[in-house]
């Protein structure tokens, strides 16, 4: 079996792969005493995979689509020193260009400072002020295809998988009038959500955040009991990373794609009615 390194970073194109040097192999065996990692989730950098392939890989650098079947033996993510060594080996092998190396260097700094091995990047999680904040449990929303399809960001933020693709205001008799903050916020208030200017205060319920893709759509985030934020983009899986693959410590600051308008924080609770 040939030992290789795969950089898990791309979504569409094949990921870069290169041979693992003896020196790095030794370094890995002595430094991987930390808790095992599954790598990051979402778009962008998700870690280095040490893989084994039965293929006879001759060249230093290749891509994952050209090496046939392989198995992953370990994932390196959240260990900045080791990640930097692996990146340098990828650069030397010709598998990582300077642009990609610059992007990766930023990712390592962020993930190291967060102290987390499960998120791609981003700062540490803030305190959670919502006494009833739900736990991040993506399986509840993603494992059953019918649940995943039938629930949107509004269902997820309110922690209520109605299966009806609920809309702000529909639970209280009048759906939002316009796709902007002044349309969606009051409609969700009628459903029982409470507008607030901050998510710092300790209180009952849990904090959610409303953002707008101007004229097109709305989106909601929720703060989980760990303090970081998660969301469910429409019919796609629930996740705790933003569009850049970073952990979400503040939805005002994260990569929200086209949802460029931040409206407000609000408070949800089990008494909110959505449909």
């Amino acid at each position: 079996m040939t030992k290789l390194v795969k950089l898990d970073v791309y979504s569409g194109r094949p990921n870069p792969v290169w041979t693992l040097s003896d020196d790095l192999s030794t370094q890995l065996s002595t430094q991987t005493g930390a808790a095992p990692s599954d790598g990051g989730q979402g778009l962008g950098y998700r870690g280095f995979k040490i893989i084994e392939s039965s293929s006879d890989v001759q060249q230093m650098a290749t891509t994952e689509d050209l090496i046939g079947d392989f198995s992953v033996t370990s994932t390196i993510f959240g260990s900045a020193d080791l990640e930097k060594s692996l990146m340098q080996s990828g650069v030397q092998a010709g598998a990582i260009d300077s642009g990609l190396a610059g992007y990766l260097a930023d990712c390592f700094g962020s993930s190291a400072s967060s102290g987390s091995s499960l998120t791609a990047s981003g700062g540490s999680c803030p305190p959670c002020g919502g006494a009833d904040a739900p736990s991040y449990d993506p399986g509840k929303w993603n494992n059953d295809p019918a649940v995943q399809r039938g629930n949107n960001c509004y269902a997820y933020a309110n922690n209520n998988p109605t299966g009806t693709f609920p809309q702000p205001g529909r639970g209280s008799g009048q759906i939002f009038a316009s796709l902007d903050c002044d349309g969606v916020r009051p409609a969700s208030e009628k459903d029982g959500l409470v507008t607030t200017s901050t998510y710092q205060a300790s209180r009952a319920g849990w904090y959610v955040a409303l953002v707008i893709w101007p004229g097109q759509d709305y989106h909601w985030y929720r703060q989980d009991d760990g303090g970081c934020w998660s969301h469910k983009p429409g019919q796609t899986p629930a996740r705790n990373t933003d569009n850049s693959g970073a952990a979400i410590s503040d939805p005002q600051q994260c990569d929200r794609g086209p949802y460029t308008t931040f409206c407000t924080f609000m408070v949800s609770s089990s008494s909110v009615t959505i449909s």
Binding site: E64, P233, R239
Partner: protein, 108 residues
């Protein structure tokens, strides 16, 4: 054969049924799609993240495919959609049913 553009988070996604002639073209294209021996890419994110097609079989069940960024995912397997050919074919089938500016954004 129902196509859904995965683009919105809050409001329902645009969805439409493909006319029979176009459906046959899509079926032929999917039948020849090569399988990839690698991890399937993660799905989702905010904004346009791909197009889904639900294809009924003779037994009444459905097989779902999601096309995005040159890769198709169906079940636990992923396949190569070279040049986003099938993804674009599916999106083009929504012309006249989907907001024109939004469609152009998704096709880019």
């Amino acid at each position: 054969m129902v196509v859904t553009a995965l683009v919105y988070s809050g409001i329902p996604n645009p969805s439409w049924t493909i006319p029979e002639a176009r459906a046959a073209e899509v079926s032929r294209a999917i039948a020849g799609i090569p399988r990839l021996d690698r991890d399937c890419p993660p799905q989702g994110g905010l904004g346009y993240s791909g197009v889904r097609v639900d294809i009924p079989d003779r037994g009444g069940a459905e097989r779902t495919w999601i096309f995005a960024k040159g890769v198709a995912v169906s079940g636990d397997h992923c396949y190569a959609d070279s040049g986003r050919k099938i993804e674009r074919l599916l999106l083009e089938s929504g012309r006249g049913r989907v907001d024109a500016a939004l469609l152009e954004t998704m096709l880019r």
